[in-house]
């Protein structure tokens, strides 16, 4: 199974040593993305999901970060063995990224056209005029109105949705095999969010690109993703197909996430909130990191770190007392 994965990551760990102590951002995660698949990495902010994606692409500065992994294999290539120059060849061409805040993710003093051109010039062997044509075409493809005019404009002159589209166009520019989308719609209004997601899904369908979606928004996950990977405090706490997990979460944290999503079909007048805050990454709780916030937690949870256990062939959970037994989930799926 891992053999045919487009991206295979095993035992990825990231720490940040600081004056005050060591921040354990990612504590060993495994993940695999198959061609054309959309994998969602879900979790609260600070759980290490963005750091993981940056670490995979080698975009984390070292210092301040220290990264270790057993395997980071992309398309049969060991990414860890590549130097910066070779990585640069992969980034943008094979793996592209879409960032959360398009205003800060775009260079403020460069026209968006030139920023797009850079991708075509670098990865597609085009000359300047070709690149310009391709950029305008790419802008049009993501639904940017009057792309030739936008081409000359600067990021601050565009609306938030437009900027996000530009980022999407930029990611898809070199037809990569994998796109990592880090909270692509969080910074946008809800109506614009939908349009952008639409665009993203259309582009993904059209090109058959694999998508690694990083989000905390389960409705986005529901809309785009095939498989889910729930992270908490640097560890994966639950994985599985989207439908199963959304319907029957096995980890109390996943359940908490689900209940905190406002739904139109239920009549909750108050949102459910997971109590307390994300644990201090410098000083994480013993045992299961989630236990101080967990309503099901027992004595065992405080002492022993639970391991990732298989519930069904496709589902795993890291919990001493999972909410769902494997069979139930399985039968649902079947």
């Amino acid at each position: 199974m891992s053999q045919d994965a487009l991206l295979l990551v095993e035992g990825l760990k990231v720490i940040f040593p600081t004056d005050a102590g060591i921040i354990k951002a990612v504590e060993g995660i495994d993940l695999a993305i198959h061609p054309g698949e959309c994998l969602a990495l879900v979790g609260e902010s600070g759980c290490g999901k963005s750091v993981s994606s940056l670490a995979i692409l080698g975009l984390l500065g070292t210092p301040p970060a220290l990264v270790r992994a057993q395997t980071i294999r992309f398309d049969g290539q060991n990414l860890q063995a590549l130097n910066e120059q070779q990585m640069a060849q992969i980034r943008g061409k094979d793996i592209a990224m879409i960032f959360q805040d398009a205003l800060t993710a775009l260079n403020p003093v460069m026209s968006i056209g030139r920023q797009l051109d850079e991708v075509f010039l670098k990865h597609c062997g085009m000359n300047k005029s070709q690149a310009k044509e391709a950029s305008i075409e790419a802008l049009r493809a993501v639904g940017v109105s009057s792309p030739a005019q936008r081409y000359r404009q600067f990021p601050h002159q565009l609306s938030g949705g437009m900027r996000q589209r530009v980022l999407i166009a930029m990611a898809f520019a070199a037809s990569p095999k994998l796109i990592i989308a880090d909270e692509p719609t969080t910074a946008l209004d809800v109506t614009i969010q939908m349009q952008v997601l639409e665009e993203l899904r259309a582009m993904q369908r059209k090109s058959g690109t694999a998508l690694m979606l990083i989000t905390h928004d389960l409705s986005v996950v529901n809309y785009l993703a095939d498989r889910i990977l729930v992270m908490y405090s640097g560890k994966i706490v639950e994985t599985g197909p989207v439908k199963q997990i959304l319907k029957r979460p096995a980890h109390p944290y996943t359940e908490g996430l689900l209940t905190s999503v406002p739904r139109l079909d239920t009549c909750n007048t108050r949102f459910y909130q997971i109590p307390d805050q994300v644990p201090n990454p410098m000083n994480k709780p013993s045992g299961c990191h989630f236990h101080p916030r967990c309503s099901h937690a027992g004595e065992l949870c405080k002492q022993t770190v639970p391991s990732l256990r298989s519930l069904s062939p496709q589902r795993e959970v890291r919990c001493h007392f999972p909410l769902q037994k494997g069979e139930g989930g399985d039968s649902q799926h079947a």
């Binding site: 775009l106 260079n107 002159q157």
Partner: protein, 333 residues
Amino acid sequence: MRKGYVLERILYTVFIFFIVITLNFFIPRIGVEDPAERYYPPQGNLTDTEYSIIKQLTRKQYGFDVSGWQQYLRYLSQLSRGDLGTSLQAGSPKVSTLIAQRLPWTLVLSLSNMLISVTLGLLLGTSAAWNRGKFADRALMNASTVMTALPAFFLALVFSLYMGFEWGWFPAYTEPDMVASFDWSWRAIAQVARNAALPVISMSIGGVISYAQGTRNSVIAVSQEDFITTARAKGMSTRTVKYRHVLRNAMLPIVTSLGMSVSGLIGGSVVIEQIFNWNGMGTLFLTANNTNDYPLMMGIMLFLSSFALLANLVTDLLYSLLDPRVSAGGGRR
């Protein structure tokens, strides 16, 4: 849109200029009812009639023979003809003539100071930022904390003492024939370089350090911006990222501080000029001060302010060229 911004900046500059002119008119008049009391010529054994004649003449000479408003209007019309007034020095030279004589020599110091500060500062600052935390960086940061606490005039004295007096590497004071015998020959240029060495070195040490530190911090701050990650994620080579994405943005605050040093270009070397006996605007001003040559002092003040205003305007416009966000609205501040 951009035209509008340029026009707005120019109009604004003119407005401020007007305020500065007015201030310049009023400051020397603070507390002066009768200029004859303040500026009358050296004491002698004057009889009462002689003294009253002198008073009258002095009043007329300073334009105090008419009412305040008329004085102001006269001042404006005089300025509009480019006339900065007449110095009280022997022979009543025009203030503008005196400034024109001294300005080039001050510019020799301050321009080479700026050139050295900016180029060395940028080079050191960027290389420190690229090698963040390594030896060069730490050396620069340590040097900067030490050097910013050492005022330039102290360094100037120390350099003058050692490199000038003790070791005789450079002239400890400006050679008196430097200005006089300057004729654009290589010999004369070498002489200027030799004489400018100590003043420029003592001025530019602080400049290099502060530009280097500013550049370093700016480059580091920009390197941590999201769009730099975007650029890297696009697969841009390290070189492209550094020079096209980081530096361009990191230059923006540097341009602002450059603008500020340009506006202090002429007035900034008063103390250094005094120490090295350099015949520039600074010594001209100190001389004017010591001899109570108010017309000259105020002429220099106005010249410096106008220069600073112009420098600010150019900086603003340059900044708006570099940063498209500015002319669209808001300001850089």
